[in-house]
Amino acid sequence: MSKQMMLEVTEVEPLTPLVTRFRFEHPEKAPLPIFSGGAHVVVEMPDGEMLRRNAYSLISDPNDASGYEIAVRREETGRGGSRYMHSEVTPGTRMRISVPTNLFALDPRARKHVLIAGGIGITPFLSHLRQLDLLQQPFELHYAARSRDEAAGLKLLPKSARIHVQISDEGNRMDLGEILTDQPIGTHVYVCGPEGLISAVLDAAARHGWPKGALHSEAFASPPPGKPFTVTLAKSGRTIEVSASQSLLEALEAAKVEIDWSCRGGACGRCETKVAACDGQIEHNDHWLSRDERAEQKKIMPCMSRFTGAALVLDL
């Protein structure tokens, strides 16, 4: 679990009908820890009976200790975290925020950085751009969104010949083949957005012969809702119900089961949990376990993954 700070919301600004920007500051205006481009924080939301914790990329200047900013897209079909942010949080609200953690850092060895964002996946790149500016490193940013309603980044991006925006509703599409051709040797590619965009970029890069070490991705993942299911804890024999709008991790936390976590998006590996018995199918929604590990069904990432079947017993 991360170290946390109690911060106050000082600004709530709708960027588009779907996406809202929130600014957090220390109640006594104390400086906050500075951070590195691509870092995220975990925001705690006391949503009725449930304590939600969602990870959001920081979009503000990493060198600015006066406040943290995030942009949240309202997900009507999500578990409820983004709806809580949009409906319950106003200037003056105090919220617990973790210290920044970075799972999507720039590789400073790169001779050039190519940033590819889809939809709300623009958020980590907003702090990357500040860091690139500080380091004076060459880059180009390609930003695709379905519609202007979704394209929250438009308001936050500087005007630059190195920033290219494609709105698919307006008939513009990102040409990955062209982006990935003719880049200088030593270029690194970073992609953040929906699964489809990430796999398209990684596939295209593989076809064009890019080395794996030059490719970086961060799925914009929050735990998907699903059908309710039951888990049994091997050590205590307890059974815990996971509701449709809860992740397994949230259900374990609600039941006061101690479990380590950090990113809550299936990327950092901290909440990896051993499965003692599994009669059914684990829906692995994480990016941590390997293909083989998924097939074995002996481990699960409770922050993201769900279960369907007769019985799931965790080694807890």
């Binding site: 170290k3 590195s36 950090s262």
Partner: protein
């Protein structure tokens, strides 16, 4: 308390010495009467007042002489300090964390004034005053990591995180227990730990790496490590093995208490905010067996630890050749009485 700095050498006539005060505050590395590998990590800073755990970067009576010794080593071999080009930001992170910490923790010795990026640093023990622009390397006489580590006791490795591993991409290493930055630079966590016996099979490195990668800023940690060194020499490097290796053969039953030193490493781990790199300071404390045995608990315990240690570890730590003489010497301080738990001496 104003610190008095010893005038002493770590080579040649080896005039290094510990005052009684320095002995009592040694970070004795054994919390029980035996030594086994463990990932013995705890939060840092934090510890009794006056102990080397109290502050983020401990400054003690050896400070000024240690910095002189570092300068001599660097003059002979500039490759003891290296920073790959992408590590400059991590160097600034390190400079910031050390300057801010020292100025807060030792107000009589160090002062830092900051006006935006215009910084003014005063280091009284070394007689240094520097105005510079933070993040602008042209305003310092050398790179930021070299600048601050020429003024800070202990070796420093800066580890870059990528591909789920840590890479030793910068460092200042002049007081090391027989390892070489010039050899290890650019290696990953498993590569530079390859010479350590047994630990890999025990899964120690997988666990340690996992822990380090999960480390967040604002949460720093420490662990103690140790080895044995003949004469109070900081620079026991592979590069200079021809100078210090043969000294192992100068130990006699008469001089072992003065010449044989326990070399303690206070290692700490810091996630750096701007670069997301990890800083790994390795602070060295030297104490001869006579010094150690002034504390009855430590004399008893060190005897038992070195007598019963796994022979592979005695070999790896480089004292197997003198183990009998060392254990014989220490046995006179071991009356068989039980020792209290923990590392601190009995009051």
């Amino acid at each position: 308390m104003t610190l008095q700095f010893n005038d002493e050498t770590f080579r040649g006539d080896y005039s290094y010495f510990n005052t009684e005060h320095a002995i009592k505050r040694l970070p004795f590395p054994f919390d029980r009467d035996e030594y086994v590998y463990s990932v013995n990590i705890e939060a840092h800073p934090g510890g009794p007042k006056g102990s080397p755990f109290e502050f983020r970067f401990d400054v003690d009576e050896h400070y000024v002489s240690e910095m002189k010794d570092r300068a001599i080593t660097l003059d002979d071999d500039p490759l003891r300090c290296q920073s790959l080009p992408h590590m400059e930001l991590a160097g600034w992170d390190l400079l910031e964390i050390i300057m801010v910490s020292k100025a807060e923790d030792y107000t009589d010795l160090f002062t830092l004034h900051r006006d935006g990026n215009r910084w003014h640093w005063i280091n009284r023990p070394l007689g240094i005053e520097q105005r510079f622009t933070f993040l602008d390397p042209t305003t310092l006489p050398c790179g930021p990591m070299e600048y601050i580590t020429r003024q800070t006791q202990g070796d420093f490795a800066l580890l870059h995180e990528r591909d789920g591993n840590l890479w030793m991409d910068a460092g200042m290493v002049t007081s090391q227990a027989d390892w070489s930055l010039d050899f290890d630079i650019g290696m990953n966590f498993f590569e530079w730990h390859a010479p350590v016996p047994k630990a890999k099979q025990m899964g120690v490195f997988d666990k340690a790496l996992k822990f380090l990668l999960a480390m967040q800023q604002g949460q720093s940690y420490r662990r103690l490590n140790w080895t044995m060194t003949v004469n109070p020499r900081l620079d026991t490097s592979p590069e200079n093995y021809h100078k210090w290796g043969p000294e192992k053969r100068t130990i006699t039953p008469e001089n072992v208490g003065r010449k044989q030193h326990l070399r303690i490493e206070l290692q700490s781990f810091w996630r750096l905010p701007r670069s997301n790199a990890i800083a790994f300071p390795i602070r060295c404390y030297l104490a001869c067996l006579e010094d150690i045995c002034t504390q009855p608990k430590w004399g008893r315990r060190l005897h038992r630890v070195l007598r019963d240690i796994d022979p592979t570890l005695a070999e790896y730590k480089g004292f197997a050749v003198n183990q009998d003489m060392i254990v014989n010497y220490l046995s006179q301080f071991d009356d068989g009485a039980p020792t209290s738990p923990g590392i601190f001496p009995d009051a």
